[in-house]
């Protein structure tokens, strides 16, 4: 879940609904995040310092007073990179062993 949210925020800050939609789009609807789960994760990730509430706002016409935007922190970006590296490493190993298709 954390990784999905990190990916959703990779191209810039988003608000809650946008995160849900982005995750659904990236996974072709396979991962649906409910509101409660999303904000529980958001709270935890804020506490862990992975994301922060963004101070910058989009253009005024798109903005909504009530909306909160979240963005990756530097730490969050680093964690996302590390996690991606770890996963790539795993996939490489899987391929080498013949369990996964693709270039070894």
């Amino acid at each position: 879940m954390t990784f999905h949210i990190l990916l959703a925020l990779s191209d810039g800050e988003r608000h809650g609904y946008a995160i849900i939609q982005d995750v659904a789009a990236r996974t072709d609807g396979a991962v649906k995040i409910s509101a409660g789960t999303l904000y529980r994760s958001v709270q935890r990730m804020q506490e862990q310092g992975l994301i922060e509430e963004s101070r910058r706002r989009p253009a005024p016409d798109e903005d909504d007073e009530r909306r909160r935007y979240y963005a990756l922190t530097e730490f969050g970006t680093a964690v996302a990179r590390a996690e991606a590296r770890r996963l790539t490493q795993l996939v490489k190993l899987a391929r080498a062993s013949g369990f996964a298709t693709g270039k070894a």
Partner: protein
């Protein structure tokens, strides 16, 4: 939308506050794009979401708070250990006392429908709980309609001959009594109607204890035969280990069959009666019916049932008022101690939170809501109380056996009380309740203060109020500890009073034991006389033995054995029922027990059935009937014969140190017809020696075995132990109460010290300014000491008043000590002063050492 907001209520307030609007917004957006069917789906999703995510958010916060708590506590291990010990003492003491109180006062008896089981007695003048005669009992069963069953039992102590002779305390009961209790045997079966019939087969049921002790827990004993008082009986059953009836001393049950001879004498107080009320019949209803039945029986038998009515009480309602009061006092004391522990914890938490005010204020400023702070602080207090509670249960586990003496032997419950689920649940409830109750108050105050106060360094917004609260807590601790101190003191003085009561005999150096003579072989006085003479002759020849005698019963072991005397020209009445403690004796009894013979002579071996009938009476007996003249030479009738008084002995506390005893009458064992009054046959041996009484036991056993190898020697003990046992519950209670009082006074002292130290550290600057302005140091000292003294005075005066009120409620236990006993009060006041002084001293000295320059520089 309102509905969705309602759903959000399941989330913690802080979370809702932070993300609630976002979630509402999100939900709105989705709903706007949804069709009717999708909307239903959306709602189902939302409900499911709240159900699964909300608890998780709660857990997230709890986990975070716990992590934070553990970190905070490990940073200040001294505080954590102190708080946990304080709570462990409070919860442990309460739990241990509860486990006893629960057994003795609360828990229903371990029989089926115990609230319908009753005991029925005759209520005769001076004896509200008299055993009924078999004839009256038989009439009751026929004349009453309140009872489903009315069953009877009587003492059946027998010599059991199995691997070796053994004296066994048993009960003979009507065969339907055990089914009435709703119990099942662990092995075999209960009695049959055939076994309950007169002349039926002789059967016996063993207790689990006896089965393990004397039959090696062998299941094949069922159907085997065992010799009881020269009769072969078949073992038909073994009861489960947790079964007791009528008390926990009983090891054997046999059917009670009453021959025609049982019903001849209506004065033959022989039976104990238990009944089961019919459903719907009240205790009062049964009482009314029993009284009218007894009134009818009085008309029919005016002499034997004169002025006699009935007493009906619940079977569970048989704990003496003394036991009740002892345990109630202990319960009160343990609650006091728990309160002190709790206020101490609250006080510790207040200090701690106050010291962390800045940190908390920072958190509040960073957006942690009040709910979030309260939650955090509550988590801390609960963590401490749960750790304390766990330690307290361990403490209670070891402490409870020490309290077992407070469980009266008359109760059909085990004395070794284990900590069972009920008690553990109680401990858990107390733990949670104290953790919440005494954590909420400080948490609420501090979180409010943290929120309202800005980050300004010296904002003191709520300090005044908090100090007042802490002061009140400390004063309450002093009150409770003085209450405990004085109660313990009063009961200690009462114990001293009881222990200094002269039992009427000299217990030092006296051995007592029982050799019960089976009625068949020893049915004649002559046969018994031979036995007594041989045994006593050999015992008296043992080195160190100064005197030895046989008697019907030993004082304080057997408290009954009451018989009515007939005084020439007097009729019994309420104030003087003419009842005496009657004992049949061999010669030497007064020497053996060290009872002073005030006048006249001892009973002698030459007082036989053919010589003039004589008696020795106690001083109180002589004074009652011959207040002016000389009782020696006077005549009265007891145990079927007119007798002449030949001696007057000192009074003995037959019924125990604290009970009123009937006057005593002693008659020679030979002056009774063969077969009459077998209950009074001498069977207790009393030996006075110059050495250790118990060292004599093996020689005595050998002598008895030589005279009759089949006779068991039982109940071997010293008279000193017998007398000491009289005060055992009191000593246990006093010791526990004393311990509570010491802990309470220590805790109160620590509380006071904590409060004053905190005050001094908070006011360093103020003190510094004062000193800089030229105030003498003594004025600073006075300021700190005065604060301590004021608190001690307020708490102390309240404590003294409460103590007096408490003392009045248990005045009946005080054995003559007045509830306002000046000695106890002076000592308590002195201890309280000492506590106040030592609690204030260190903070006062610290205040003295304040360096004005440093204190002001810190500004």
């Amino acid at each position: 939308m309102r509905l969705y907001r309602l759903l959000l209520r399941f989330y913690p307030a802080s979370f809702r506050h932070e993300y609630g609007e976002e979630m509402v917004r999100l939900f709105e957006e989705r709903r706007r794009h949804a069709s009717a069917v999708e909307r239903v789906q959306l709602w189902i999703e939302a409900i499911g979401d709240a159900a699964s995510a909300a608890p998780r958010v709660h857990v997230d916060i709890l986990r975070q708070d716990l992590r934070y708590t553990v970190r905070a506590l490990t940073r200040t291990p001294g505080f954590a250990v102190a708080a946990i010990i304080v709570m462990a003492l409070g919860i442990g003491a309460t739990t241990a006392v509860f486990s006893i109180a629960d057994r003795v006062l609360l828990r229903p008896l371990p029989y089926s429908d115990p609230e319908r089981l009753v005991r029925v007695w005759e209520n005769a003048p001076g004896y509200p709980q008299m055993e009924p005669s078999p004839a009256n009992y038989r009439d009751w069963t026929q004349m009453t309609g309140s009872f489903e069953q009315l069953e009877a039992h009587t003492v059946y102590a027998v010599n059991m001959l199995h691997s070796q002779p053994e004296r066994v305390a048993g009960i003979a009961l009507t065969w339907q009594l055990l089914p009435m209790l709703g119990v099942q045997p662990a092995l075999g079966r209960l009695f049959t109607a055939d076994e309950g019939r007169l002349g039926g087969p002789d059967a016996v049921i063993l207790s689990d204890r006896l089965w393990r002790r004397s039959f090696n827990a062998d299941p094949s004993v069922i159907g085997q035969s065992v010799r009881l008082d020269d009769t072969a009986c078949t073992i038909v059953g073994v009861m489960p280990p947790d079964f007791y009836f009528p008390d926990r001393e009983t090891d054997l049950w046999a059917p009670l069959t009453m021959g025609p001879g049982w019903f001849v004498d209506r004065d033959n107080a022989a039976l104990r009666v238990v009944g089961r009320l019919k459903p719907g019949v009240t205790l009062d209803g049964a009482r009314a019916e029993m009284n009218s039945v007894m009134a009818a029986l009085e008309k029919a038998y005016p002499k034997e049932n004169a002025q006699t009515r009935a007493t009906v009480r619940l079977l569970g309602d048989q704990v003496s008022w003394q036991s009740r009061l002892l345990i109630r006092i202990l319960t009160g004391a343990s609650i006091c101690l728990l309160l002190i522990a709790c206020t101490n914890l609250a006080s510790l938490l207040l200090t701690r939170f106050a010291a962390r005010r800045r940190e908390l204020t920072v958190r509040a400023a960073l957006g942690a809501g009040r709910e979030r702070l309260t939650r955090q602080l509550l988590t801390e207090s609960l963590t401490l109380s749960v750790a304390g509670g766990a330690a307290g249960v361990v403490f209670a586990f070891f402490a409870t056996p020490l309290l077992a003496r407070l469980v009266p032997t008359t109760l059909p419950v085990p004395d070794a009380t284990a900590l069972d689920l009920r008690v553990l649940l109680f401990a858990a409830a107390v733990t949670i309740a104290t953790g919440v109750a005494f954590g909420v108050l400080p948490a609420w105050r501090i979180s409010r203060a943290a929120q309202s106060v800005s980050l300004r360094e010296h904002a003191r917004g709520d300090v005044g109020g908090r100090e007042r609260l802490r002061s009140a807590l400390v004063a309450a601790q002093i009150t409770a500890s003085i209450l405990l101190l004085i109660s313990a003191g009063l009961l200690m003085r009462a114990l001293g009073n009881v222990q200094s009561i002269d039992p009427g005999f000299d217990a030092r150096g006296v051995l007592t034991l029982r050799t019960a003579l089976p009625t068949d072989r020893y049915s004649t006085t002559a046969a018994r006389g031979q036995f007594y003479e041989r045994v006593l002759h050999e015992i008296r020849a043992l080195p160190g033995v100064k005197a030895a005698a046989y008697a019907s019963f030993t004082p304080m072991i057997m408290r009954g054995g009451i018989w009515a005397v007939e005084m020439p020209g007097l009729t019994p009445n309420d104030s003087d029922p003419h009842s005496v403690s009657l004992r049949f004796l061999t010669s030497g009894y007064f020497d053996a027990l060290g009872i002073p013979l005030k006048r006249g002579r001892d009973l002698s071996d030459s007082d036989t059935f053919d010589s003039p009938f004589v008696a020795v009476v106690s001083e109180s007996f002589a004074k009652r009937y011959w207040p002016k003249g000389d009782a020696i030479g006077q005549r009265f009738t007891v145990s079927f014969f007119e007798r002449t008084i030949v001696g007057i002995a000192g009074d003995v506390h037959v019924r125990g140190l604290e009970s009123l005893s009937e006057p005593q009458v002693y008659v020679p064992y030979r002056q009774i017809r063969d077969g009459w009054m077998p209950f009074y046959t001498p069977k207790d041996l009393l030996i006075r020696t110059t050495g250790d009484p118990l060292a004599l036991a093996p020689s005595v056993r050998r002598i008895v075995r030589n005279v009759d190898p089949e006779l068991p020697v039982s109940d071997v003990q010293t008279m000193e132990d017998v007398v000491t046992r009289e005060t055992a519950p009191r000593r246990t209670q006093t010791a526990v109460l004393g311990l509570f009082a010491v802990m309470a006074i220590l805790l109160a002292g620590i509380g006071l010290h904590g409060l004053l130290s905190f005050g001094v550290s908070q006011r360093r600057q103020e003190i510094g300014v004062r000193l800089a302005l030229g105030a003498p140091r003594s004025s600073v000292l006075r300021m700190v000491l005065r604060e301590g003294a004021v608190l001690a005075a307020i708490g102390g005066i309240a404590g003294l008043c409460l103590s007096y009120a408490a003392g009045r409620t248990f005045e009946s236990l005080l054995a003559g000590v007045r509830p306002a006993d000046p000695v106890t009060y002076s000592i308590a006041i002195a201890v309280a002063l000492l506590m106040t002084l030592s609690g204030s001293l260190i903070p006062a000295l610290r205040a003295l050492r304040v360096d004005p320059v440093k204190a002001l520089r810190a500004e």
